[in-house]
Symmetry: C2
Subunit: 388 residues, 2 copies
């Protein structure tokens, strides 16, 4: 599939939804990627099946606090610099790029570099959403080393990491990124095609494009864009999305700490949710949604606020007092829910003393009606003890 | 000159004096270096004249808050790891090591690695004292790039820096060092023998040994060790040391911030200084000494507190309420006082809105009597306008 400027338009809508409130607004990334495609031509998106076992795949991304990107547009050359540096370090030429996260701005960054270098982008990533830390990758969970990794900044500074584990990579790269002015361009988890096939969440770029196209179609047809988003999730590896809450933002707090945007949003319900309150906690991305104190959705399931009129995702940095929103939940792909995976990005990792509550268990009636992918059904049976 | 365990005994005394209150207590470094010499034999100390133009010289050091070293003795393998990594990075074999600072703990670290690798250590460093930041090097002032640089920690994590300037190196390496648990082992400013000859402060390891031997001799002879230290500075590139103040510690404050030990010591005078107060500000190293509000010594001149009974330097981390001390000043070598040098480590750099006051100007009568090296005389004439 050849990715054009129009596809990136759709992807930016879908990636914002998969960004679960964080990941950085895809807008700036989209402009960078569209510019690159205008200059160098479309980029080939290849499926995991098309990846060769001995391919050399580099995940490329930006690292840093999304709130910084809004004020400081990246120059666009840094990702290229980081990729070239990593090639030199490994003594190998890269044959394909991929996203580390298909949610938010980082859905776009591989296309910026791929267009310039004439490389394909692999249709898969390491989380199927957005997450705030570098070890929060299926690549990590499934044994790929995050290092050697390389970050570069707009002045041409480069730092190379060789760490004994991926948590140290996160720690060191985060510290340097803060000193680089709040963001950097990153290549980590350099891997073979075989490793990519075995560890990536598959089809996630396509998922982003599909969600975006559903929103665009709803606009053309004057149909409900939120319903369109939910319908577009139906036959995916994710599972059916669900409208969790309709409400108005009555309180929003956020602070930037150690390079993260941390905060909480409070929604007052209207329509069928009148009289109820939803509270959403986020650390870059939305982590936990509660209705009247009851957890209804939790990381790693996807929690996103949509504009009810446009179906566009509202990132936390753009969330404003008085805004009317629909909170939706999308079950995370099965690969993201393993015991090992939940140890890395389940609620406990983020400091919440609660088990992961899959959407299918919080809303059994809905999921009985719409059905869940076979794998998920199995998971629901397995996880019927609440201890997880 | 072959450096033996006994020489390191003397060096540890002298390096503490050149450490100007910071640099980390040489004790732990000495134990590491003595152990290495016991295992692998003595280390050749070569003068700058003996360095070959095409030598490959690596400065090696530890980076971090000295207060951390007291609680956490380094394993000793990390410096070796950093040197090997840098060799691999450059594709060159190192032929000599040198200190980045001859003051404090870092006077010893090159000997730890040199003994193990069978390499000589060059008798010269980048500051002739101790300083808190990586760009505070004559190497930097005189145009050597601090990068590629490499830090390693006790777990085997390695970070390589390629920065566009040496201030970024300091910033990034400091941030990673904090995340490494407070200290790291460092190779920076890798250079040719020719660069080393042109940029180093010469003979500074010998200076440290000489100061230490003076103290040891005073102990044997039951003569005054403080006088012995001052006398030992006489015919050096530094200039004659001077006793600034005799007093008792009546207040000491320190905090660790961003990897630095920052604070202030207050001394109440006794003997000829009875009724007077000295205040010393430090950031790892002593920066400014005032007597009754008047600046009497300032960075980059050396300000050190000695135990009046032993002549041993007292590092700020060991300074305690009620302690009796003699504050001494030693003029810094001329290469450290250039316009460019003062811009990097003069009082203004550390946030003091005062010009650098050379000891020779604060104490003209004393220096008229003892004399100053010719170069310094020239400096004193040139700097007679107080604007500097």
């Amino acid at each position: 599939m050849r990715i054009t400027e129009q596809d990136l338009e759709a992807l930016s809508i879908g990636a914002a939804i998969l960004g679960t409130g964080g990941g950085g607004d895809p807008l700036i990334g989209k402009l960078m990627a569209q510019q690159a495609i205008r200059e160098h031509g479309p980029v080939e998106l290849i499926s995991l099946d098309e990846v060769e076992r001995d391919d050399v795949v580099f995940p490329v991304a930006m690292m840093g606090a999304p709130t910084v990107f809004l004020e400081k547009v990246p120059a666009g050359e840094e990702g290229y610099l980081a990729v070239r540096r990593m090639e030199r370090h490994l003594g190998k030429s890269v044959t394909a790029l991929c996203p580390i996260e298909c949610g938010g701005m980082n859905s776009m960054i591989p296309f910026v570099v791929a267009a310039r270098m004439g490389l394909p982008v692999v249709d898969g990533d390491g989380m199927g959403r957005a997450f705030p830390e570098l070890q929060m990758e299926t690549f990590h969970i499934l044994g790929v080393s995050g290092t050697p990794a390389c970050i570069a900044d707009e002045w041409g500074n480069v730092v190379l990491f060789e760490t004994v584990d991926n948590f140290r990579l996160e720690s060191f790269a985060r510290a340097c990124t803060v000193k680089m002015g709040g963001y950097s361009h990153l290549v980590d988890y350099p891997m073979t095609g075989e490793q990519m096939k075995n560890t990536a969440v598959r089809g996630t770029v396509t998922m982003g494009i599909q969600l975006g196209r559903a929103v665009q179609a709803a606009h053309r047809n004057h149909s409900n864009p939120v319903d369109a988003v939910l319908a577009a999730t139906r036959d995916t590896i994710y599972g059916h999305g669900i409208a969790l809450f309709r409400g108005k933002v009555v309180d929003i707090s956020r602070r930037t700490s150690d390079g993260f945007a941390i905060g909480q949003a409070r929604l007052q319900g209207f329509e069928e949710d009148a009289g109820k309150t939803m509270v959403i906690d986020f650390q870059n991305e939305n982590l936990i949604a509660k209705v009247d104190g009851q957890v209804v959705a939790s990381v790693p399931d996807l929690i996103t606020l949509l504009d009810p009129d446009t179906g566009h995702a509202i990132t936390n940095e753009r969330l404003r007092y008085g805004q009317r929103v629909v909170a939706i939940g999308i079950p995370t792909p099965e690969i993201m829910r393993s015991e090992a995976a939940l140890a890395v990005w389940g609620p406990k990792h983020f400091g919440y003393d609660i088990p992961f509550v899959p959407l299918e268990r919080a809303y059994p009636a809905f999921y009985q009606q719409v059905g869940v992918p076979n794998e998920k059904e199995k998971y629901l049976l397995q996880s019927s003890d609440a201890s997880r």
